[in-house]
Amino acid sequence: MNHRNIQLIESPQKLLSISIFSLIIPGLGQFLQKRYWRGLTIFLSAFLLTFLISWALNTYEIAIIYFGILETSWLFIPLILFWIWNVIDSVNLRNVKTFTPLPGILCAICILFIVAWDVTEVKPNRLIERFNDAKTIATNIANPDYLSVDINGEPEICSWNCLWSNLKNKLSGLPIQNIHLSDNLGDIFGRIRTVSSLGNPIKPTFETGKLIETIAIGLMATIFSTIIAIPLSFLGAKNLMDRVPGGNIIYYFMRTIFNLGRAVDTIVWGILIIVWVGLGSFAGVIALTIHSVAALAKLYSEEIEHIDPGPVEAITASGGNTLQVIRYGVIPQIIPPFLGYTLLRWDINMRSATVVGFVAGGGIGYFVLETIQMGAYQLYAAALWAVAVVIIIVDTISSRLRENIILDKPKPPRKPGVIGYLKPAVYILLGLAAFIYCWNITDINLRSLFQPGPTFLQILKDFTHIDLSFDVLNLVTKQIIITILQAMLATFLGAILAAPASFLAAKNLTGKSRLLAWLYYLTRSVFNFLRSIEALLYAAIFVFWVGIGPFAGMLALTVTTFALIGKLFSEAIENIETGPIEALTATGSNRLQMIFYAIIPQIVPSFVSYIVYQWDINIRMATIIGFAGGGGIGLTLSTFFGSLQYHKAGTVVLFIVVVVALMDFASAKIRETLI
């Protein structure tokens, strides 16, 4: 224990030299003391912050001040403070081995925020100045187009006001209007057609609505991706590939493919796919399938890597052959987690299916895009509410089934004879029928897979020599910085709003109070409701309110962040140890004191880790928010694609992949150190 002190006395010269090392190159002092990650992080942070400040100064003149003729940025002040902290840290590391990184982080956050505030064009005054626009859209959203009345032969939307006045008339015996389901409702859910498009009477047929189409897209993508991901996941499982000669190479190859597939968002896959198979639901199915194959295969492989080798050994010892070992020792272990991940993916795919139409042209996403472009916000509202209900139902079913899988009980052996097979047979037939129906309505056309559109070859060619000229790089860099900072602001704003709300949504804190119990259900429902709608759909609202641009995108991301992180936070609070709470209750402290002394210290690490995780998710979302007018790199991508400049679009895709993959890595690393 004493040698640390001795070292301290021995080495004043060493101390000096370390501080000089860190002064010249930030992080070097830490690096030389074998704290490699710390050193590297400090060095990279200092480098990136310096770059960011001078970039912001040159591009946006952010924080500009003049010293005579010399213009510079006052943001260098917090950077200098960061530098000083780094030197102090390197010295302190020597003495006491630990020193709080808080001042350094604060300086960095300060710089990031000031730049982010400017580049994402945050203008809080607009929220108030354009409050009338907000009121307009809120009214529209509150009055969705589900029912209509005919006025002078023209259908008109009949919402709450109209319903209310008709109800009053009905009660007072006055004549009422003829209320019927609106055309819009038919577009969304489907309708029974009795006349053909030319006006001739036909046999009544059911015409599928956009929402049903969306459900089918999500379902088909989940089925296809599960079927494709299972064999791939075996190739990506280290414990299996180690047994095969050359398997290591296959393992790393597969894992890279999985990570690349995940890094490109469904929407981005969508615009690549439409060039291949053309606009429509099928393109949506493929885009969703590619993304979820990558995500599922990674999760499946990890599950295979974590199986218990015990049963394999036991069945080998009892004389079972390889196939029997797989059937009895491996499959029973992997089926439940595989099913669980597939169900989770189904939930995610349904959410993505609601927006993939923005680019791919199928499902409710395309419908929403059309209504927004027409400015028909009551039609849009009808779709929004319908989506929310469907997603909440899917979410509930998926999580219920997953719970059951975790707790599942083995079934008693099947009853002998026909009856034993009747039930599964009925299920299989129903499933098959649903599958064929979905196949039909999503226009799956396997032949078109092998007859790619002529421009697809052009894409492949252009992607092999992407445009790396200075102008393009400059633009893409600017947009990607906006995207990253937009995601960061949304994460922090969402988290700040969600933190207090999450306490209300934690079941273990409600106690016996009736009021709190009601608030618990209310906040929970708000989180679930807000979570059910994708950021792209929110963007439409904010674009109307604050105008097109990164600010609208940032606000849309804030809403989804609030909902998701609020749920994660409240679950973190629900999972805390009850011992300290009990102890504090015993000392006679009140609820607020309890929160500050027993709960907050327990939840801070998981909160921070969720925030980092959410930032990672938000960056993925921010890369596509531009498709709905939310600014950032998505806007650039859609412009380049729209004008068929594929060699420039390729640059954007490359940037997105690199940034998302790096953030994914950084986020995992940070969360590792936190827990």
């Binding site: 218990d308 015990g310 049963p311 050994e313 036991a314 069945i315 080998t316 010892a317 009892s318 004389g319 079972g320 052959n321 196939l323 029997q324 059937r327 009895y328 020792g329 029973p332 272990q333 439940p336 599942d408 009980k409 083995p410 008693p412 052996p413």
Partner: protein
């Protein structure tokens, strides 16, 4: 008779788990294998049914050369040797019934077994063996809903499905508390005495060795340092096996 001659196992990382092991076991013996952790007990047991490939040496059992067996022959030998594990090695999510049934896999055709089709006799055997270990009521619950002692009894029932002539038990009671240790070992003793199965069992506690084994060997650093009757292990022997600083601990 099981005969082990010059058995040697060197792992790829260079660790010599078994140096030069020689001993033999008569049919119907209850042989305890003792030694410190890492002395080679598990490796020795796994070499006997070839879960681990020996580097060199010979294992013969009633005239069969286990070390020379190939492919299907190994499976035929394995199915006559039951094995019980420290961590039970059950499929936790499967039912007790399926776990026990899987002990029969060495005897049935591959295709029907993949569809989980077994003969009536096999199903009857599951019930009989579950009864033998007093777990009849637990047949259709998940394996991991049982206590440790019960799970080990499922492990025994699974081994019994093989109609084994010999049982290898790798620290069968090391994960269990002392009272349960006796229950499990009593089952093994019963199989040994009443059904004449040879039992090779690695154990940690000397008084369990005295109580159940009919003969004993001790391993140290991959060598047999003692072979004889359990009661012959006196203080001096004990120190030779476990090192000078070892103290005898007794359980119940």
């Amino acid at each position: 008779m099981l005969k082990i001659e010059h058995l040697r196992k060197v792992y790829p990382n260079g660790v010599v788990a078994l140096n030069d092991v020689n001993f033999s076991v008569e049919d119907g013996e209850f042989l305890a294998i003792i030694g410190l952790s890492g002395s080679g007990k598990s490796t020795l047991l796994r070499c006997i049914n070839r879960l681990i490939e020996p580097t060199s040496g010979r294992i013969t059992w009633n005239g069969m050369d286990i070390t020379a067996a190939k492919g299907n022959e190994i499976r035929k030998i394995r199915r006559q040797i039951g094995m019980i594990f420290q961590q039970f090695n059950l499929v936790k999510r499967s039912s007790v019934y399926t776990n026990v049934l899987s002990g029969r896999l060495g005897y049935v055709d591959t295709l029907p077994s993949l569809l989980q089709i077994f003969s009536k006799a096999d199903h009857a055997k599951v019930l009989k063996n579950l009864e033998q270990v007093d777990l009849s009521e637990k047949a259709h619950v998940r394996a991991d809903s049982l206590s440790g002692g019960q799970q080990q009894r499922v492990g025994i029932a699974r081994a019994l499905m093989q109609d084994p002539k010999m049982i290898l038990a790798d620290e069968p009671v090391a994960s269990l508390d002392p009272v349960l240790a006796h229950t499990i070992l009593k089952y093994l003793e019963q199989l040994n005495k009443e059904r004449g199965m040879t039992v090779l069992c690695s154990l940690h506690f000397l008084d369990l060795v005295h109580r159940y084994a009919t003969s004993a060997i001790a391993l140290k650093d991959g060598n047999v340092v003692f072979q004889g009757l359990p009661k012959q292990i006196d203080d001096q022997q004990f120190k030779a096996i476990y090192g000078q600083e070892a103290e005898k601990i007794s359980i119940i």
